[in-house]
Amino acid sequence: MDKQVYERNKNLAQMLKGGVIMDVTNVEQAKIAENAGAVAVMALERVPSDIRKQGGVARMSDPKMIWEIKQAVSIPVMAKARIGHIAEAQILEALEVDYIDESEVLTPADDRFHLNKFAFKVPFVCGARNLGEALRRIGEGAAMIRTKGEAGTGNVVEAVRHMRTMMEAIRQLQNMPREELMTFAKENGAPYDLVVYVAEHGKLPVVNFAAGGIATPADAALMMQLGSEGIFVGSGIFKSSDPEKMARAIVKATAFYNDPKVLAEVSEGLGEAMKGIELSQIPETERYAERGW
């Protein structure tokens, strides 16, 4: 991939900043998301909480469904490929989606290697729990990062942990003398040039959103206050009792994350948020965030 293509792919993520990207499973939901003010939709067959409930192998969605959603909305359409699944990514690129999420929410196809994302023209977003993981994905060609959180739980605690972990590492790097950067790179499994970039700029070289467990407007505002540049909401919208209202409220809360008065207004009378799961009830082997190498 030439350098300008990669720059433009990073640029598209810049245009999404301050916005909300919503998981949708059909045309009707995609239209609700667009009307509520989503900056993009993630087209997938089952939202993460259903994947969690139903089990089995979670794969790329039916191209027909992705195609229909692309026809129905004017905002960017993203879709998920399994970690390391070269062919699924090629299929999604052939469908001309606007972004591919190489996602731990689907069952990994490769237990050692992620995609070489530089082999594609289409941009990729990848999940990360910490700075080292984020920089490995960027080193492979990701044009956007999202903290993983724990998808399908409606519990924001993991998203918070991952965002705080990443921000803490960035602050550490900013204060490190140059001679310590190589050891940081080694200990965190991160490419050295990207470590130097973060030390010099105090931020990732790509846009960083929050994902995994965001279920209310207040959750979205919390993640923005912790330094996220935008929000992914998966199950949180279409598993709530009034998806349209919840979607609109989360969009408003993300734009006005530092205005408690607006947050109070938009949090009113939303009905029930998705039920949610306490993290201690999820066995280690069923935690999606652990998927990623």
């Binding site: 433009r8 810049q14 245009m15 916005g19 960017p76 001309e96 734009a255």
Partner: protein, 192 residues
């Protein structure tokens, strides 16, 4: 230019920081993020950034900024829309309702296609600068038609990519994503 000018950037969503950073490179400019009618009252000019026009338009309506902004533009406040901002300004948007609906242009959203069709060009915009400047198009719109006093400033592959009408400037590309400040200089001249 007399004294310091305050230029706002509509800051609901999109390439807000990029525009604020570019404005920050001009010592004669105070850059101000704008989300409220109060902030709008304080600016001499406003930039509508790149982003998603449907999202920004909804937030303009919900937070009571659509009508005050439209009035300020109609009263002559200089305004510059980049990409999504161009769509907000247009009187006609193919296939949907207009948003601010103040500029005599008809625009087509995502006119070039998906992200795979985004592109970079180097072109001369005679009104702006005699030399070519880098132009970044991200899922860009184009102007299908301009009428009245709206004048095309750049035509690319048969489609208008930049236009000016009195106090209004619209570009389908994103100067905020490059280091080149020449379109900003042009906009500053519009403020006078």
């Amino acid at each position: 230019m007399t004294g310091k000018k305050t230029i706002g950037v509509l800051s609901f969503q999109g390439s807000v920081e990029e525009h604020l950073a570019a404005l920050g490179r001009f010592p004669e400019v105070t850059a101000l993020p704008v989300k409220t009618p109060e902030a709008l009252n304080r600016v001499d000019a406003l930039i509508l950034p790149g982003g998603e026009s449907t999202t920004i338009s909804k937030l303009l309506s919900i937070f009571g900024l659509m009508e005050p902004l439209r009035q300020r533009i109609l009263q002559g406040m200089p305004v510059w829309g980049t990409c999504a901002g161009m769509i907000l300004l247009a009187k006609e948007v193919v296939g949907e309702q207009p948003h601010l609906g103040v500029m005599d242009i008809a625009v087509r959203r995502n006119a070039y296609g998906s992200q795979l069709d985004s592109f970079t060009a180097n072109e001369t915009i005679p009104a702006v600068l005699g030399d070519p400047i880098p132009l970044v198009f991200i899922r860009a719109p184009w102007v299908e038609r301009a009428w009245g006093t709206a004048e095309p400033l750049l035509t690319l592959n048969g489609h208008i990519a930049a236009a000016r009408q009195d106090n209004m400037l619209a570009t389908a590309f994103h100067p905020e994503l490059t280091d080149d400040l020449s379109v900003y200089r042009y906009f500053l001249q519009m403020i006078g």
